[in-house]
């Protein structure tokens, strides 16, 4: 059975792009439009990989990333950050949250800054899923 990859992004254009890339490479795409829907989907579908946007309404990628990395049930799911904001801003907001709430989360292994060529995206996915 093909592996499940969840795309969490509020931008319809990005979703259809990533979904197409996934389909072209024989993965099974799942989609969610925001952080909350994304988490529900992860609980329900147990995807093999999550492609996560950062700036979204209703539970940003910053928070969903934290939630997944600090939850024993989900911290093994590989995550590819896929976003328009720089890694520096992302890490800065994580740091701010750490200072505020305590705890530490690892830096994302793969951080792709949009725009990303399909080849680059698929290389990242394959690196994680083989």
């Amino acid at each position: 059975m093909s592996k499940k990859v969840l795309v969490v992004d509020d931008d319809q254009d990005v979703r259809s792009f990533v979904v197409t890339v996934l389909e072209e490479n024989q993965y099974m795409p799942l989609v969610a439009q925001d952080g909350i829907e994304g988490f529900e989907m992860i609980e329900k579908e147990k995807p093999d990989l999550v492609i996560l946007d950062v700036l979204m309404p209703r539970g940003s990628g910053i928070r969903l990333y934290r939630k997944l990395k600090t939850d024993k049930n989900f911290n093994q799911i590989p995550i590819i950050m896929f976003t328009g904001i720089t890694l520096r801003s992302f890490l800065k907001s994580q740091k701010a949250l750490e200072e505020f709430k305590g705890g530490e989360v690892p830096e994302p292994d793969i951080y792709l800054e949009k725009p990303v060529e399909p080849e680059e995206l698929i290389a990242a996915i394959k690196k994680k899923l083989g």
């Binding site: 931008d11 990005v14 259809s16 792009f17 197409t20 309404p57 209703r58 725009p115």
Partner: protein, 506 residues
Amino acid sequence: MSANKILIVDDEEIIVRLLSMSLRSDGYETVTALSGEQGLEVFKAESPDIVVTDIKMPGMDGLELLKMIKEIDPEKEVIIVTGHGDIDSTITALQYGASDFINKPVRDESLAIALDRAKAKIDIREKLREYTENLELKIAEATEDIRRKSNFQRLLIKSSNDAIVAFDHDWKVVVYNPEAARMFGEAAKDVRHKMTIDDLYTPKIARIFKNQAKKEKQHNMLPWRENIINTKDGRQIPVRYNSNVLHEKGDFVGTVSFFQDLTEIKRLETELVQSERLAAVGQTISGLAHYVKNILIGLQGGSYVVDVGIAKNNTEKFKTGWETIKRNIKRIGDLTQDLLTYSKQREPEFEPCLPNDIVDEVIELVKDFAESKDVFISKEFDPGIGEVAADSQTIHRSLLNLINNAIDACIEDEDTSKKHEVKVKTYRDKNNYFCFEVKDNGCGMDKNTQKQLFDPMFSSKGGKGTGLGLLVTSKLIEEHNGVIETKTSLGDGSTFTIKLPYEKAN
């Protein structure tokens, strides 16, 4: 030191010896002489404290001796021994400064009393001298203290970073420190005790001080005020100043004022504004770049999906990709239009139009999208508005912006338990405006967001907003002589109201 040495002068040796013995037994030290001349010698040699002399003696008599002694030392006490009824001599002795008289024959008690009195006088005189000397010392100390303090105050005034200027009750300058000289461009020597308030200050400032002195009974400090000072050498100095009317026991004695040079502060303020402006330009450009990048992401993604559709002959994919491309082309179009609207002055084109119908059109445009996000749009129209003369494009675009913002605020809201709603209301107010109210119960805004609401390229929507919407809206409304009002509360939603002058279509 108590007086203890007594000179006894009498031409009768027996009396001298008797008195001397008697006094020695009382603890005094005595020296003796048997004539006026000898008495004077002994006086000079021994310097006794008290002299007891017989008045009648051959040669230099007691009066003569008294006179000589008083010439040498007026403070010595001389007790005169007289015979009965010798009034004239007594008066002369008094005139010469005798301290006391005892009658012959000299009785021990009366001598003791006279001596005690003389001693008491000497004591008092000594004490007085002590006090006087002390007083002089104290005055010298106090004077030095005052000098030190006044010097300290002078230095204090001199070294102050504030310009300090004080006037006496005739409005003559009495205090004028170096900073004042620098600020006003007049040397202290030309000002102090020479100039009056009218010579130094502009009429406007002088008037303020004079009025203040008239008005105030007690010394009340005025609050700090700001003003511009024109100096003699033609500089303009922004200053912050305050002054104090001085009263002494209720009488007006003068005023003192403190001036602070604000030149540096004003320069820094200007610099700050400048740098804020530069930062705003930077934010504008980076915001714009971000937005354009998002369009590019859309176009690249869309063309990839189209490519896949073509390669796989998959119409569905082809359509999805093409929709994406078209949507992003529209975003470029909208952005360009917003940028042009923002950068160009545009006269509104007044034409007869129906505001309520325009709102309907706009709602129709966004309704499907809103409902797909569980946001409901309701409307409440005032049919009394009817037809007005207005720029329909202004109304259309402004409302589209506000309603889209309201929908976004609902989508952004993390409180999913709310039933999200955007209420659009039209009405005429009592100031003859026709108004559009767009009210949402979405996420609302914090103070910081509110502050930047109308800043160019500020967007609370990440890369999804141009940051031009409200800016363009407010510009359009302004050009239409209207106003735009905002009410918001974080977590409860926001209300934006557009008010345009009501003019009937003719």
